[in-house]
């Protein structure tokens, strides 16, 4: 009797309802996965970044005082 019970437990298969639920879940997950990937690809395609550059330039000349000082030094050397 006990042996028969054990045998029946071993042979007992998963119910069809569980398989059906898993099948539906699988389909939903696959669909969501496909949707996510396609949505992401679409996002990347319509959101390209674009760049361009600009520049600022300014030139500082020696100040008048510095020029005078330099000139004075030259005069001093010459003198």
């Amino acid at each position: 009797m006990k042996e028969n019970n054990i045998k029946s437990l071993v042979k007992e298969d998963i119910p069809k309802k569980t398989v059906l639920v898993l099948l539906v879940m699988t389909m939903v997950i696959v669909a969501l996965g496909i949707w996510t990937v396609l949505d992401r690809m679409n996002y990347n395609q319509i959101n390209p970044k674009t760049s361009a550059g600009g520049e600022i330039k300014i030139k500082i000349l020696p100040s008048t005082n510095e020029t005078v000082t330099t000139q004075q030094n030259i005069n001093t050397v010459e003198g």
Binding site: I29, T36, I60
Partner: protein
């Protein structure tokens, strides 16, 4: 025909679920797919075109500077009479030594079909630009509505007497840094949208949220600059390069 046990079916379904989830994550994080095919049909999505142009550089020209620590030299892209022999920036090509030199600001134009968020990054900040830490040195920018000739501004579009900037007639509608309107209700177009801001270091700085596209009358902004030069700045040429990036808003 031998019936397949449900236990095996469940195992197969679990494997399929795992593959689906793993495949999704792999596709998202790899991000290297450029197209896809489904049942022999190639699907192509034509996205919005995103493109910006920088229409002008700034060249202040050349001059000696003030040596007075209490009266430092300032030059501005908005000024007509800059210090010494520096260029006139109130008109295009207002160069003193070379007429073709222009310092009216860096004009950024949205040439795409979608509104863009514009960021700016500079190669040098205040201290690296002047290569020292002298007191009083400064380098700031501001964002103006319209192009560098001050056309295409909200005021021009609205007409004289209607200078109040509305949310829909300015090119750049949102200050992305505060999330608020860049032109608060009741403000007038006699100054900068964004107050003079110190040039940011290293990081990209959002200077304009929602810059209008080519479908709008006004699709330009002008970046104005203001430099205060240290009294003991050595002679030589200084330059700073800015990269502007537009991403669909």
């Amino acid at each position: 025909m031998k019936e397949v046990p449900n236990r095996r079916l469940v195992g197969i379904l679990i494997v399929v679920m795992f593959i689906a989830v793993a495949g999704t994550f792999f596709s998202i994080f790899k991000q290297s797919i450029t197209g896809y095919a489904s049942f022999g049909t190639v699907q192509i999505t034509i996205g919005a075109i995103s493109a910006i142009n920088v229409n002008s550089d700034v060249n202040f020209g050349q001059s000696a500077i003030s040596n007075d620590i209490n009266n430092l030299t300032s030059v501005s892209t908005e000024a007509a009479d800059n210090y010494g022999d520096f260029n006139n920036c109130s008109v295009i090509d207002g160069g003193v030594d070379s007429p073709t030199q222009d310092c009216t600001g860096i004009e950024v134009e949205n040439q795409g079909t979608s509104n863009l968020n514009i960021t700016m990054i500079a190669t040098a900040n205040v201290s690296t630009f002047y290569n020292n830490e002298n007191a009083g040195a400064n380098f700031t920018f501001a964002v103006l509505d319209g192009n560098r000739t001050k056309n295409e501004t909200a005021m021009q579009i609205m007409g004289a007497g209607n200078e109040a900037i509305g949310p829909n007639n300015a090119s750049c509608q949102i200050n992305g840094n505060t999330g608020t309107s860049i032109s608060p209700s009741g403000s007038y177009l006699n100054g900068s949208w964004m107050n003079w801001t110190v040039i940011p270091a290293v990081d990209e700085y959002l200077i304009c949220g929602n810059l209008s596209s080519t479908t709008a009358t006004n699709n330009t902004i002008t970046i104005e600059f203001n430099l205060t030069i240290p009294y003991n700045q050595p002679a030589g040429e200084l330059s700073n390069t800015f990269t502007f990036t537009g991403a669909i808003a």
